[in-house]
Symmetry: C3
Subunit: 480 residues, 3 copies
């Protein structure tokens, strides 16, 4: 900790938010690198290559058997979640909507390219040294990006676009390694990514936020809140995440019953979460009023928590139970845990990703382990059991349960460890991050329109003051 402390002092220099050189440089250099690497490594897979017609005629298959038709509708739903869902969910801050939706856009667009490469190198590198991509690769790239967008939630408003690009580069890299270990080495199943995406992403972001702790963040507390319309914008994000979550959890599961079941389970878990979130939000506020923060976030916890088990025989009532618990835990997290974590653990978590992704993600991993361990041939059928878990050799449900639990640990370790390392890098005083009193303010990174009335409370405040002075002056004069 002494080392960390001295490092912190080293970094305490006046802030300069001008990224006119660094941001374009990073974007151009990295995009150029992407083009070169794509040129060397990335090719179309069999289902998106013009030779597919030969294969189709040979095997007398229907056009419909192209993977495109199995996955594309789900892919588009996931795509909406990544860009509109995550982007708009973070627009709740009164003066950081541009940064929320704009930087989300930037890092997702970069991240998905890097993810195609990283996931390809680890997962689908052919004997010819080429990575073959198709619609499933695009979904996996979007998934990979999701973990970095989750991490963005923890540091929203406190970092520069350049830092976010660095965070995404390392985040995607770590994700690909972690995913490879969990899916291909441990052979755990994680359809909706409770562990791989949510647990990893949340701890990655929280660790970075811990490394970037700002003791004087209260200097910008006037901006760390919402206005009426920014809360409505955030609901757009919430709803698109909520509605399309069944597609997220079913997008890469087995064709047929696998996708079908994952969608049903997620649909039910999310419905259940909404009711317990409302209940807790009302119960723990004075006068029973609802808090938009809970409605925007905790209602999604159920989707996170059924991610791993969505394709298993969780049963409809099981999904409801998972959603029930997560709505309660997540909302209580916002009320009690977030202030505690900020005060005592020095983790400033802007969007409360600990409540929305970390805790439900861990719960999801545990639920997945239990559900896998409890699998039986009578419930799944002989063929169904093999198909669902991809059992090879002497694998058994009990073993699978253990592997699932091991996978959860891997996700947490990668998140915390990776986050601390990347946090060190991000503390370097070269990235153009804002000063403590300039956080949560679009002004430093965006050309803002001139609209004094609706969104510049400070100016308006001065204006009020001026009126007050006038009144006082009058009173003084009247006394004369």
């Amino acid at each position: 900790m002494g080392c960390v402390q001295s490092f912190r002092e080293l970094c305490d220099r006046p802030k300069n938010t001008n990224v006119r050189i660094s941001l374009p440089a990073v974007c151009i250099v990295w995009q150029t690198a992407m083009i070169i690497l794509f040129g060397i490594f990335i090719r179309y897979d069999d289902d998106s290559d013009p030779h597919w017609i030969d294969d189709r005629k040979k095997t007398n298959k229907s056009d419909m058997e192209n993977e495109f038709y199995f996955r594309y509708p789900s892919f588009q739903d996931v795509h909406v979640m990544i860009f509109v869902g995550f982007g708009f969910l973070m627009t709740f801050l009164k003066r950081y909507s541009f940064g929320a939706v704009g930087f989300n856009f930037l890092i997702a667009a970069f991240g998905l390219q890097w993810a195609l490469l990283m996931q390809g190198w680890f997962g689908s590198l052919g004997p010819d040294g080429k990575i073959k991509i198709g619609v499933e690769s695009l979904i996996n790239a979007d998934f990979c990006v999701a973990s970095c967008l989750i991490a963005y939630g923890a540091v929203l408003g406190k970092v520069s676009a350049v830092q976010l690009m660095v965070m995404t580069l390392f985040g995607i890299t770590l994700f690909a390694v972690e995913e490879h270990i969990i899916i291909h080495i441990i052979h755990a199943k994680d359809a909706g990514g409770s562990m791989v995406i949510h647990t990893f992403g949340a701890y990655y972001g929280l660790s970075i936020s811990w490394m970037l702790y700002r003791p004087n963040l209260n200097q910008s507390s006037r901006l760390q809140c919402s206005v009426y319309h920014s809360d409505v914008f955030a609901m757009i994000g919430t709803l698109f995440l909520w509605m399309f979550w069944p597609s997220f959890n079913s997008a890469i599961t087995d064709h047929g019953d696998g996708q079908h079941r994952a969608a049903i389970n997620t649909y039910l878990a999310l419905a259940s979460t909404v009711l317990t979130t409302v209940a807790m939000s009302s119960l723990f506020q004075k006068h029973g009023k609802l808090d938009m923060v809970h409605i925007q976030n905790s209602t999604l916890a159920g989707g996170v928590a059924v991610g791993t088990a969505a394709e298993f025989m969780l049963m409809p009532y099981g999904s409801l139970i998972v959603g029930f618990c997560c709505g309660i835990i997540s909302t209580l997290g916002y009320i009690y845990l977030t202030p505690f974590i900020e005060k005592y653990l020095k983790i400033q978590d802007t969007c409360g990703i600990h409540n929305l992704h970390a805790m439900p993600g861990v719960i999801g991993g545990i639920v997945g382990a239990i559900t896998a361990a409890a699998a039986t041939e009578s419930v799944y059928g002989v063929e169904g059991l093999k198909e669902t878990f991809d059992f090879v050799g002497d694998m058994s449900p009990t073993k699978q349960g253990g592997y699932q639990a091991a996978a959860l640990c891997v996700a947490i370790c990668f998140g915390v460890g990776g986050g601390i390392l990347v946090g060190c890098v991000l503390r370097l005083p070269i990235w153009g991050d804002p000063a403590d009193d300039s956080c949560f303010d679009d002004e430093h990174y965006w050309e803002l329109p001139q609209d004094e009335e609706s969104t510049q409370p400070v100016l308006q405040y001065n204006n009020h003051m001026r009126n007050k002075d006038v009144i006082e002056t009058n009173f003084n004069m009247q006394q004369i």
Copy 2:
């Protein structure tokens, strides 16, 4: 009516909007009940069960034959209509956007669970006493919920979340019975639910609103209007409803040409409605200006009105005619009928559901009856006629037309009767509904952000006044 009158007096006690006990209690108890009932009754259907693979191998079917791939894209579109469409359509009020989108979210999430049970008990209870659910059940549950969200439109801003939960519980129950009678007993067809969903839902809501009539609602008239940005938010709802309506009307129709035709008919009817709505809106306003209320609502009337006949041979020009008439009728309804109904029938219809759902729903029922009665083998083909209408025994198109008309009556009766009964229950002074001068105000049910400038006109008004005082003071002094 004397009884109703005395009951009304009984209910006139000071209002208390604190729902800190009742709302959490209702949510937790009902969600717990859902878990128990789901545990007893609900199971996966054949297409979402792991045993599906055995069936598939036996019959040498493609994975693509799973019902999931026929219905899932439509399901997701319907899902967006329910949560974003209905939710955002109602955000037009200047200070009730949280309640619109938030309570819509809550009652939809509850309603779909209850709908799965109710529709299962009436429709698909197996010999083992279990309800098997799949993607079509999810669509039907969303449909069922739609009727309650329509009803919400009539009482928007005037009821508490607890009342809405009660209204939804009974609404779903009534819906399931009504639907069972119409679809399974009368054997009427109603793909897009003009009768089952829209007519029922609208009259249910209007009857409740009649029972909850507030003579002094003008006390909150300052809040019963929109602001510029709230109207733009509402357009999000309008457009997602408008765009996805072809999916709504085709979601549960026959595979193949049935779904195809329903989508085309709805697409055309909606396009036609937009033009006549604009024409009427411009023609009946001074200076030919358009009214956002009409554009937000009446443009959707065509989709409601082709609901029943969408899968029939309505013909493309027939769809255009239906849309043409509904755009005119619905817009004129907003201009002339809504004020009339409020003044003389004592029905306060916040969103004008009478113009968007009731009238077009009834028209849709009639169009359906006529189109069914006019069906011939030369138009449909021998097989096509059987397939489209599911004819068994000695059924003929003429008979079918009569049954369709009977179904419309059933929908209206259930709506009006059920609404009056439920309205009685909701008049009990225990539900935490707001006082007359507190309607259309999120403040009583939501923790609101502090944004004086943009959304608290009253404060601003005082501020103006203060300036005026200052000026007057100055004048006075100058006179001295």
Copy 3:
């Protein structure tokens, strides 16, 4: 030019924005005409006709082989782009959001009906004189409408709804002829419409804007800018266009690998564009701040530019290169070219469609020609080459490349020529367009809600002034 000049003088009469007669008349008459023409010409195609079941049983096909299942998810994505994408992209102006989203809605709803007829007459008129429509017709109608919505971008805020209707009527007509020449006569390929839709639409709009040049438009410059929330609304449009562009470019390509490849190429090109847009936006603004105009628009240029070549073997790295270049060119266009074009060429381009559609569209046409000319059997396979390019007779890739280039010229000629002609018509002083100081203001065509605070800067400005007077008065008095 002398003729144009005198015509201009003829048109300089006082403006009257009252469209109470003309707008309803146009809507009702044209919609009635649509009904009649649909009655005469439009019928369901084989896949949406009840006789389809006979065909299916005869050929032992699966229900899944219905064209509906190949195209419907893409259709819905395109539909969202047309209404929410284009509509919300244009809401960025502080006081023209109603007009942006509302008039977009109106002309799209009219345009798609007229497009079904026009495209049917040119493309699919059967031997019985009937046009058969199915889901692919709906997609093509939406595509056709897109070109008119692009043109709307150039004249946004400066024309009346009646002018837009006229512009759409002629635009759709010209489009259908141009498309027929390019696709059916020249046999060029243009899956995503870089030439057919974007190049034509953009030059059509720019030419009209040139004909409607307003020398004194700076009188309404106070309204030709955004406010904070209107920029966030515009991001909704941007993101839905960006996310669904892969569906746009793949919607009508060949089943199987064709759709698959088009989606992948578009996905990659768009991702690449985002990074170079951000780089340029930051590099050319002082302090390296990002400009929302670029993020909202230039990020989409890559999707336009891969439109033609999306279904070819552009290769993943090729898509990235196209996106890379277009992000740079489009952003620089906004910074340097738009002011130049306005000042020297007298073209006032409200949304900068020259940078988003015209230039990228032309690039797309060129990329398509090169990619087609470079096609080889070794890359596509023998069957694949035929299938991808629909080669008949002695066609070769080199010839195809030449035809593609010819097609690009046709699109530009139709755009410029058609735009000038239609611009002449729109200069007639009978359409209710606004005066120069009334542009970009919803007030003249919409009933506006009373929300002084948040969106009426002029009033607020007076208010400020009043305060200032008060202060000055006080000062005067204090001097006394």
